[in-house]
């Protein structure tokens, strides 16, 4: 039998790492991406990548990293994969260093590490404040090398539409759209990887890039792939307000000593710099003395929300607080945070070296995603997932600088599992009859034909904006059951109105309206998974916070949500979380984690 061949969908860190590992062992890979892979959303990651290299003699270890990550995720993550990730982290950072990632250095020429949220250790390697970009470039370069060797073929501006599943339920390839000439293609492979990122565009303005619609994950979900923990959405505490996007202001600003504050007197009209120290309220340091400004993101976002919305203490009563780095020497700022300060200056106009930045929380990341086993395979044999689009590593809240790490480890683990899976197949995808490919291709072409013929009065982009507004308002930092029910009613209304869409573009060439309409439907499907998953979970855990159920409820809710698609909407089932390595503890950040007591164990 010939060597197996593979398809990787998505050219961010997880997809590229998978591709490199597959090509490295001599396999052919077709790599599909919405954008030239060097422009993938991983470029937006700023602060760094975690790994317990313990360069500062603080007694850090992979076990400590593991403990911080599980605790930070409020015990919802299955523990063995998280342990594996933290154990592999130092080696991954060294690998990236060997690939030429320009990590910052100490005077001795060693890798430098900084602090990040939810830990007391300097554990985050960083390349200025554009670490994701630098890592993506390094992997992109290695993939280019395999492209030159003829092992990797890139399909850029291509979109995954559906998996092709044979009569035995095994994934044998994909159906994809060339977004330039709008033609639909069937492609064969012996295993398929979805490394397709998060669903941020469902929430409209946030920190995500424009292709982060979750459309591929949703398409797979509608084909029977399980989607897990969809209700766990990370809202990042510090983003810059904007009309097209809420740009991220990295946690590394606080890691390097940045402080969050508001004037003690809400009527204070003075400029930030002229407000004396004694008249500022450093509320994170006040509320969480053990971690201060470096509490995990869910905690910081809730605190900012409370200060602005519940107490009305935002700057001049607005939805904004100060993020202040003006006390840090200019040279250090330029060396360690240059990239993000430049973004603030370019988009706001003020120089953050001199003026405290004005920030507010924004949608950032989905902890939930495609359900996978510990080998990254979905419930459809032959179909794998890695990166933000899977649910594996971050539990109920992701720690900063763990996402780049989870992308790389996900790609490594998945590539090995894909090779093993393909090796066990009785026949190659090439030998599978054409029928399942033809059927699925025809189904996708018919969907586009129907969308193209739509001539109603609704505009798809307006519908998308309404979807985003309702999700932002109701399925964000604070969740209330009546609002979540309203949200689902709104989602059903939008589905109804979808049937009245008119296509604004008749073009045959790069028709972005047509592309968007199909993705919009997929977003509407996935939005229900998120909203109804949140409605069902009557507790507060990590990023999922319900004032009516303010405590974590382990006996009832220490379990993974699994959504299965049906015509009537998502059907939820639950499975136990693997807590075989660390006992449950109460999660608190006003005291050191060792001081937080044990928790009531889950029943059964």
């Amino acid at each position: 039998m010939a060597k197996p061949a593979f398809i990787v969908v998505g050219g961010g860190l997880a997809g590229l790492m998978t591709t490199i590992r597959l090509a490295e062992s001599g396999h052919k890979v077709d790599l599909l991406s919405f954008v030239p892979v060097k422009r993938s959303h991983s470029v937006c990651a700023q602060g760094g990548i975690n790994g317990a290299v313990n360069v500062k003699g603080e007694g850090d270890s992979p076990w400590e990293h593991f403990d911080d990550s599980v605790y930070g995720g409020d015990f919802l993550a299955n523990q063995p994969p998280v342990k594996k990730m933290c154990d592999a982290a130092p080696g991954i950072i060294y690998l990236l260093d060997r690939m030429g990632v320009m990590f910052n250095r100490t005077a001795e020429g060693l890798l430098d590490f900084r602090r990040f949220g939810g830990t007391k250790h300097h554990r985050t390697a960083f390349a200025g404040a554009t670490t994701g970009q630098q890592m993506l470039y390094a992997l992109d370069e290695q993939v280019r090398r395999y492209e030159v060797d003829g092992l990797v073929t890139k399909y850029e501006f291509w979109e995954f539409l559906a998996a092709v599943v044979d009569e035995k339920g095994v994934c044998r390839g994909v159906i994809a759209l060339n977004q330039i000439d709008m033609k639909v293609h069937a492609m064969r492979a012996d295993a398929v990887m979805l490394a397709t990122g998060g669903p941020g565009v469902i929430f409209g303005r946030g920190t995500n890039s424009t292709t982060c619609t979750g459309t591929a994950a949703s398409a797979a979900y509608q084909q029977g792939v399980h989607y897990a923990n969809g209700e766990f959405i990370q809202v990042h505490p510090t983003a810059i307000p904007g009309t097209d996007k809420l740009r991220l202001m990295s946690e590394s600003a606080r890691g390097e000593g940045g402080r969050v504050w508001v004037p003690k007197d809400v009527k204070d009209k003075r400029s930030a710099r002229s407000i004396p120290e004694s008249e500022r309220w450093y509320f994170l340091e006040d509320m969480y003395p053990a971690y201060g400004n470096l509490v995990p993101r869910d905690i910081a976002s809730r605190a900012i929300y409370k200060v602005c919305r519940d107490m009305g203490m935002g700057i001049a009563g607005s939805d904004m607080v100060y993020l202040d780095v003006t006390h840090i020497p200019r040279k250090d700022l330029d060396r360690k945070l240059g990239g993000i300060l430049e973004i603030y200056e370019k988009f706001v106009g003020d120089d953050p070296h001199d003026e405290p930045m004005k920030i507010f929380p924004a949608y950032h990341y989905s902890m939930g995603g495609i359900w996978i086993d510990f080998d990254h395979m979905t419930n459809v044999p032959g179909l794998f997932a890695a990166g933000e689009c899977d649910y594996q590593y971050h539990g109920a809240n992701r720690l900063g600088a763990n996402s780049l790490l989870s992308c790389v480890i996900g790609g490594e683990v998945a590539a090995a599992a894909m090779t093993k899976f393909a090796g066990g197949l009785e026949k190659r995808s090439e030998a599978v009859p054409a029928a399942p490919f033809d059927t699925e291709k025809k189904r996708q072409e018919e969907i586009y034909a129907r969308l193209r013929a739509m001539s109603g009065s609704e505009n798809p982009f307006v519908l998308g904006e309404e979807l985003a507004a309702t999700m932002r308002n109701n399925v964000s930092i604070v969740r209330e059951n009546d609002k979540l029910k309203e949200t689902d009613a709104k989602l059903l209304e939008l589905r109804e109105r979808f049937s009245k869409l008119g296509i604004p573009d008749k073009g045959q060439w790069m028709n972005q309206s047509l592309i968007y309409m199909k993705q919009l439907w997929n977003m509407l499907e996935l939005a229900r998974v998120i909203a109804l998953g949140a409605l069902a979970r009557d507790e507060s855990r990590g990023a999922h916070y319900k004032p009516a159920f303010p405590e974590r409820d382990d006996p009832k809710w220490l379990k993974t949500t699994k959504a299965t698609w049906s015509k009537e909407g998502p059907v939820f089932s639950y499975e136990p979380v693997d807590i075989s390595l660390l006992p449950l503890r109460v999660r608190k950040y006003d005291v050191d984690k060792k001081a937080a007591g044990p928790a009531v164990a889950a029943k059964g």
């Binding site: 993938s40 937006c44 030429g100 250095r105 890039s209 996007k245 604004p504 073009g507």
Partner: protein, 250 residues
């Protein structure tokens, strides 16, 4: 007081085969608008200033924070990223056109794949032995790291090619971006091992000697990459390499 609406003129072209035309739009002004917001507003209400229905404008964008390079276009005659082009800083009517040095796809979208092909030509990677855990990389001083970091921020946006007079239909010039990347990898302790291959790629037709020293590139680069310094440095390396080859016959 600014007008209630922003006037925008956009060069439209439905496909490479169809002749271009200009369309004008008036878009309600909001605070903190950028060029992307204007295009998003047109998507929601695709009508020209004269009230005629049209199609939404096709454009390329992704990160919207000037780190991916996707949304590069010619705005008021200057090539730059649309995301960081803030409306209140632009003269109106704002004109939007696609880049001119790359094949057109549709409206404001062009095909920049030649830039990625050029990165293959200069073998733009560190030739590592494998991705397994083989211990730490080479030590590097913070000074060298900072120098390399400045070069490694190139987002392959194409601004430097767009403004370069040597990039034209009659030339094969590789352009500043790839030359600067060759410098980056030649300076890397491991990347050095195939430095001569990169230099040879820069010696042939379309190589570094096609640079006309107009110095437009360094002024156009949105990431302030010292492109002319890179070209100078690589010119020096190429000359030394050529002399060595001549003298030693290797």
């Amino acid at each position: 007081m600014a007008d209630a609406s922003v006037k925008v003129k956009i060069k439209r072209q439905e496909s490479p085969q169809i002749a271009p035309r200009w369309e004008e739009f008036e878009i309600p002004r909001q605070p903190m608008m950028n060029v992307i917001t204007l295009l998003l507003e047109i998507q929601k209400r695709p009508k020209t200033a004269a009230g005629e229905s049209t199609s939404p404008v096709a454009w390329d964008s992704h990160c919207l924070e000037e780190v991916c390079g996707a949304c590069t276009m010619v705005i008021n005659g200057k090539v730059r990223q649309a995301c960081s082009a803030l409306v209140h800083k632009l003269e109106e009517p704002i004109t939007l056109q696609p880049m001119t040095k790359f094949p057109l796809v549709r409206d404001l979208v062009v095909d920049r794949s030649r830039m990625f092909e050029d990165l293959k030509r200069i073998r733009g990677w560190v030739p590592i032995q494998g991705t397994y855990d083989l211990g730490p990389g080479p030590r590097m001083s913070p000074v060298d790291q900072e120098k390399a970091y400045d070069l490694s921020r190139c987002m392959t946006c194409g601004c430097c090619l767009e403004v370069c007079p040597q990039i034209n239909p009659r030339s094969e010039f590789i352009g500043p971006a790839a030359i600067s990347q060759a410098r980056l990898f030649n300076a890397h302790p491991t990347g050095q091992s195939n430095a001569s291959e990169r230099l040879e790629a820069l010696m042939g037709p379309g190589g570094i000697s096609d640079c006309g020293n107009a110095q437009n590139c360094v002024r156009a680069c949105p990431k302030d990459i010292p492109l002319t310094t890179s070209i100078g440095e690589m010119g020096r390396q190429v000359t030394i390499h050529a002399l060595k080859t001549l003298l030693t016959g290797k």
